[in-house]
């Protein structure tokens, strides 16, 4: 099993009464809440934490893309990835942006990711999320009704551009170019591994399994809520006649490790409450632009009680710490407790890539490093040997597992 260290890079100083005095952490958040000095210091600290994760033995480090928000300070993941490419030497550089439908022409994404792959000497994982509704439909004003078509066409163009032996013309529905000739090409040929972050769209399961891309289930509501999503994905893999290789799947989980279960409950309460009640305080009006969710997913939504409950929770924004723990949003405890839970999750989900969220909310640097080190030393060894027979076809050529 591969273990990756994921950083959202949140703004860490939203006020305690943020979710009462402000409508949303995304899209129309008051820019006056952001102190540039705090952001600058945060970038430096967060980059150091990602480098530290490699030092601790994580197989990969992850960044992503979000816009106009206080939830994650990375509108351009390629900038962060380029820094990481030169400050690390072994870990997979996992870029779970770029939201390709936002860029025109999309070959810019192909160019920048190729550069990251070269700077890292072939350690790039190229993630292509559709992007949240807040990022795409509102912050970038892309028509949600055609977002997924733009997205799919963009990925096709990028992959072709990376592997093409000669310049070509492209006449797509949304992009027309007389000359496509992305230079430099990425080091990994025909292309770096492709991972598709998803939150439960029926079409994304089908897309990943038919195209042999990794499906990265990114739910911030933990393993219990993700069962339905992961199950749906594996059913689609089977329907499409693909093998159940656990490395087809990545799954994200918030984790807090301490010396004891009781200590973990004490240590991680504040950053978890910060994340779920401030960083995720999204105005419900930005969650459901017409067309963002496909017809099939809307149909599934109205037939799924589980998701109805999840939506109600997401709209609530006043989760209690007990709810976060009891519902599995955060897996916390002593090393044995965390390992047992995650091993069970990995086996149940048949998941070969675990995206660990060991920094969240306003977690201090000291606690982040404590969490990371404890996980690496006392939890990871019990997970690494899972799925020994499986071959990871979705790992960068030159990223060296710990």
């Amino acid at each position: 099993m591969k273990l990756l260290w994921f950083h959202l890079m949140p703004y860490p100083e939203l006020p305690p009464d943020f979710n009462r005095k402000h409508r949303s952490v995304w899209v129309d958040i008051d820019p006056g809440l952001f102190d540039p000095a705090v952001v600058a210091e945060s970038y430096e600290r967060y980059l150091d934490q990602l480098v530290y994760a490699e030092e601790c033995g994580f197989d990969g480090i992850c960044v992503n893309e979000h816009h106009s928000n206080g939830y994650g300070l990375v509108p351009s993941p390629n900038l962060i990835a380029s820094v990481l490419a030169t400050r690390t030497s072994r870990a997979a550089i996992t870029v779970l942006g770029n939201s390709v439908a936002l860029y025109n022409p999309v070959v810019r994404v192909a160019e920048e990711m190729a550069m990251v792959d070269l700077l890292s000497h072939g350690r790039l994982i190229s993630g292509f999320p559709v992007g949240t509704s807040m990022d795409t439909a509102y912050a970038y004003s892309v028509n949600p009704g055609i977002l997924r078509e733009r997205y799919s066409e963009g990925i096709d163009l990028i992959l072709r551009a990376w592997a093409a032996k000669e310049p070509f013309a492209f006449n797509g529905r949304f992009t027309q170019m007389r000359y496509v000739n992305v230079l430099p090409r990425p080091l990994q040929q025909p292309h770096p591994p492709v991972w598709i972050p998803g939150g439960g769209s029926v079409e994304t399961w089908d897309y990943c399994s038919t195209r042999d891309f990794v499906y990265a289930a990114l739910s911030y509501y933990g393993h219990r809520m993700a069962k339905e999503t992961v199950g749906g994905y594996w059913r689609k893999v089977e329907e499409n006649g693909k093998d159940p290789n656990p490395y087809r799947l990545a799954f994200l989980q918030f984790i807090g490790v301490a010396d004891t279960d009781a200590e973990a409950r004490r240590l991680y309460r504040e950053p978890a409450e910060y994340f779920f009640n401030r960083s995720l305080h999204v105005y419900p009006g930005y969650a459901d632009p017409p067309g963002y969710v496909t017809e099939a997913s809307v149909r599934a939504r109205y037939k799924s009680q589980v998701r109805a409950v999840a939506r109600a929770k997401q709209a609530k924004h006043d989760l209690t710490w007990d709810e976060m723990v009891e519902n599995g949003y955060v897996v916390i405890g002593g090393p044995d407790t965390v390992r047992e839970t995650l091993e069970d999750v990995a086996r149940t989900f048949n998941c070969g890539h675990l995206l660990t969220m060991l920094q969240f909310g306003n977690m201090s640097d000291e606690l982040t490093r404590h969490n990371t080190k404890l996980f690496a030393d006392k939890v990871a060894p019990g997970l690494r040997n899972l799925f020994p027979e499986a071959v990871d076809h979705w790992w960068p050529a030159n990223a060296v597992p710990a």
């Binding site: 004003s141 949600p144 009704g145 419900p284 009006g285 459901d288 632009p289 067309g291 017809e295």
Partner: protein, 234 residues
């Protein structure tokens, strides 16, 4: 029988507005083209761009064989009707638009309807409460398929308007040469009445008191009478 094309607004056409009943009583045969998406039928995918929408609309209109004739367009339908009159002037003998989209006024941006939670959107279209035909639209399809149909209807309108409802009409208004009537609700949340100034090139804007965005539903008698008088005069 006199004939008029009606292009409905942002929430589709769940029933005939009482305003149109007035026109029918005055002897007008009202033709409503079958626009995909707004009917909530499964399998809808929006056209790639506005030109694609105009093509879909014109195909639907031509299928009715109603043109040339007067066109009454509301909201989204007002935008489509204005473009029909601008680009196919031979097809439109008179144009009445009710709070049309198509020109965005940054000084009067109005409410972003699609940044309102889904369940609350309908209430912002009317000044006098949501009319019964809109309260349970597609309810006959049941609890599973009804919401899907409502969603697809929203997708159709939103895809026509995203992100600000401007389709460059300001540069084409001068091509409209038929008689025109522009009406606006003074309580329109989506397109505040101040935004109507952009349409002044088509003649004086008639502001209707007590009306929201879908004014033919809020004040049907007033709107019906004014449109009937306009049509009668031309």
């Amino acid at each position: 029988m006199k004939r008029i094309v009606y292009l409905p607004g942002i929430a589709g056409n769940p029933a005939r507005s009482p305003a149109l009943d007035i026109l029918a009583t005055a002897g007008w045969d009202i033709v409503v083209p079958d626009l995909p998406g707004f009917d909530g039928r499964p399998g809808f995918q929006p056209p790639d761009d506005y030109l694609g929408w105009l093509t879909v609309l014109w195909d639907a209109l031509d299928a009715t064989q109603a043109l040339p004739c007067p066109v009454l367009g509301a909201s989204v339908g007002g935008m489509l009707g204005a473009d029909l009159a601008a680009l196919r002037p031979e097809a439109v003998t008179a144009l009445a638009v009710l709070a049309p989209f198509g020109i965005f006024d940054a000084e009067h941006p109005g409410l972003d309807l699609y940044a309102v939670p889904t369940a609350d959107r309908m209430s912002h279209l009317f000044a006098k409460g949501v009319p019964e035909p809109f309260t349970d639209r597609f309810g006959e399809l049941g609890p599973d398929e009804g919401p899907v149909a409502r969603y697809l209807c929203d997708v159709a309108a939103a895809s026509l308007l995203w992100p600000v409802g401007d389709r460059g009409l300001a540069s084409r208004l001068h091509r409209i040469t038929c008689p025109t009537l522009v009406m606006w609700g003074d309580q329109d949340e989506l397109l505040p009445v101040g935004a109507s100034a952009a349409w002044a090139g088509l003649g004086p804007v008639e502001v209707v008191a007590g009306a929201g965005h879908l004014l033919e539903w809020d004040v049907p008698d007033d709107v019906g009478r004014r449109v009937a008088a306009f049509l009668g005069a031309v």
